[in-house]
Amino acid sequence: MEYFLSEEQKMICELARRIAEEKIKPVREHYDETEEFPWPIVEELAKADLCGVYIPEEYGGTGGGVFELCLAVEELCKIDGGIALVLAATALATFPIMLFGSDEQKKKYLPDIAAGKKLAAFALTEPGAGSDATAIQTTAKKEGDSYILNGTKCFITNGGEAQVYIVIAMTDKTKGSRGASAFIVEKDTHGFSFGKKEKKMGIRGSATRELIFNECKIPKENLLGREGQGFIVALKTFDVSRPGVAAQALGIAAGALEDAINYSRERVQFGQSISSFQAIQHLLADMATEVEASRALIYTTARMIDKDPKIRVTKEAAMCKLFASDVAMKVTTDAVQVYGGYGYMREYPMEKRMRDAKITQIYEGTNQVMRNEIALALIKEAARAKK
């Protein structure tokens, strides 16, 4: 489908494709096997200016938006759905600074992130607070010119590797969801350490780790937005970051589809290529249709966000994440089917895509939470229309 990309957007795609093909493809198995963090790839992304595609030029980025981020993430994920997460997860923690940060905070953090010198991580989830984010137990107590953080965050993408952390903590438990605040915490702050590094089913080239705050003292200037705004920061962030996760799912699915088509033309059974069998053709047709629908939804939502940041996109962002991740799971499963026995073998890149795809249905809000948000928005819209 023709999406009428600008010259610069085409360049982003071309560059991301080249990095994926030339730099990531030869090492994707290595990172999947070893679960090492792909620092050499981060350097490649940095040198290519891809770390700042969604950051304004005045802060060292290339001045694109959510759409440019999605394009880069999609292309990278066609080859590897885990490694590209360094970029998407950093964006998840950079958006709150872009949306709520003061001038000083933006000047302090955005240029290094745009240049790829620093990665970022977003920390909301806790052992007892996943879908029920309001149940978080981490606290931030104000003492003079500082806040003291105590608590544990888990499943934090880029954890241990990132230099900048956005942490949601309770500043006033009596106020419930209005008692949370967002903070910027830098790595190497006294009282901030890292716990267990998770061993995962997929996206194994991405670091997922526990963050531990023990009497961690940070200056009050590190409060992001106002006190009590923590969940607003989180929700507004998800509105712009979910298309990025959706783009990850889209890339994984699109890569699987491309490989499945090529494989079906090469693989011979019963004396002919399996692409000549209708059973395979229909599978490929469904896969391609779903991938394209997913792309159209994501691109349209991303363009909406970039065109007018005032439009509320909670529903559309949730739809992107929900649809693209379900499509990714289905398409990668079917792609393994097209590959048959070879698809199940780790020697081929297909089973990995299936493992990588699964997480996209779970993180940045489970797909069940996505459906709740979409439904809530629908009901609100209908109620408003009645008035």
């Binding site: 010259e7 610069e8 360049m11 982003i12 560059l15 080249r18 990095i19 030339e22 730099k23 490649e44 040198k47 290519a48 200016d49 891809l50 595609v53 290339t62």
Partner: protein, 261 residues
Amino acid sequence: MNFIVCIKQVPGTTDVKIDPKTNTLIREGVESIVNPFDSYAIEEGLRLKERMGGKVTVISMGPPQAESALREALSMGCDEAVLLTDRAFAGSDTLATSYTLACGIKKIGEFDLVICGKQAIDGDTAQVGPGIAEKLGVPAITYVKKIEEIDQARIKVERMMEEGYEVIETNLPALITVVKEINEPRLPSLKGMVRARKAEIHMWTASDIECEKSKIGQAGSPTIVNKIFTPPPRKGGEVLLGDPEEQAEKLVDKLRQAKVI
């Protein structure tokens, strides 16, 4: 310091077709790329600039579409690009090409080092680099795999041989041709690509570079290509059976028959 990198645009495939009438490459419908060996030359030029300061100018001779190869070099970080393009250059062999590029380099002005890839993947002659050095009157060192030392006046390099390498030192200005062992070329950057798209490429014709008409294009090319063909694949050998004495006898017979001995 001023570094000049010579590049050539070549077909992005080894499966090239030859026009049987003109004995030249058919370029239509084939994706064009920067000659891979020239990418190492670009990278080395950029690394020298980063180390020593100065400027990297990239130059090519070719049809107007060779502009895209120069833009690729600019997107990697080269400062200026020159394309020598004129119908009068058409049909150049390696001698005329060397002369034309040397004239272009003279027009660019002062330079310290010219860097070329060891050869182009289409013609595979490896003649143009040394040819340019000859026309410029500077020393040439081919097959450089490492620059050991360089300062304003001298360069010391490792020249790759079949076994081992030579260490050669010479005065600047000079010309080197590089092999792929020298570095790993960088990818372009997004900012570089945006800059390269807008950058002006200097387009120079024969009259711009003060060259003698008799030394350029077909007129300046003593090489005559009669025919280009792919040699037929060699047939498998013959195995002589029997004990060593019998084999030796059979072999001597065969060699006598073939009038080798």
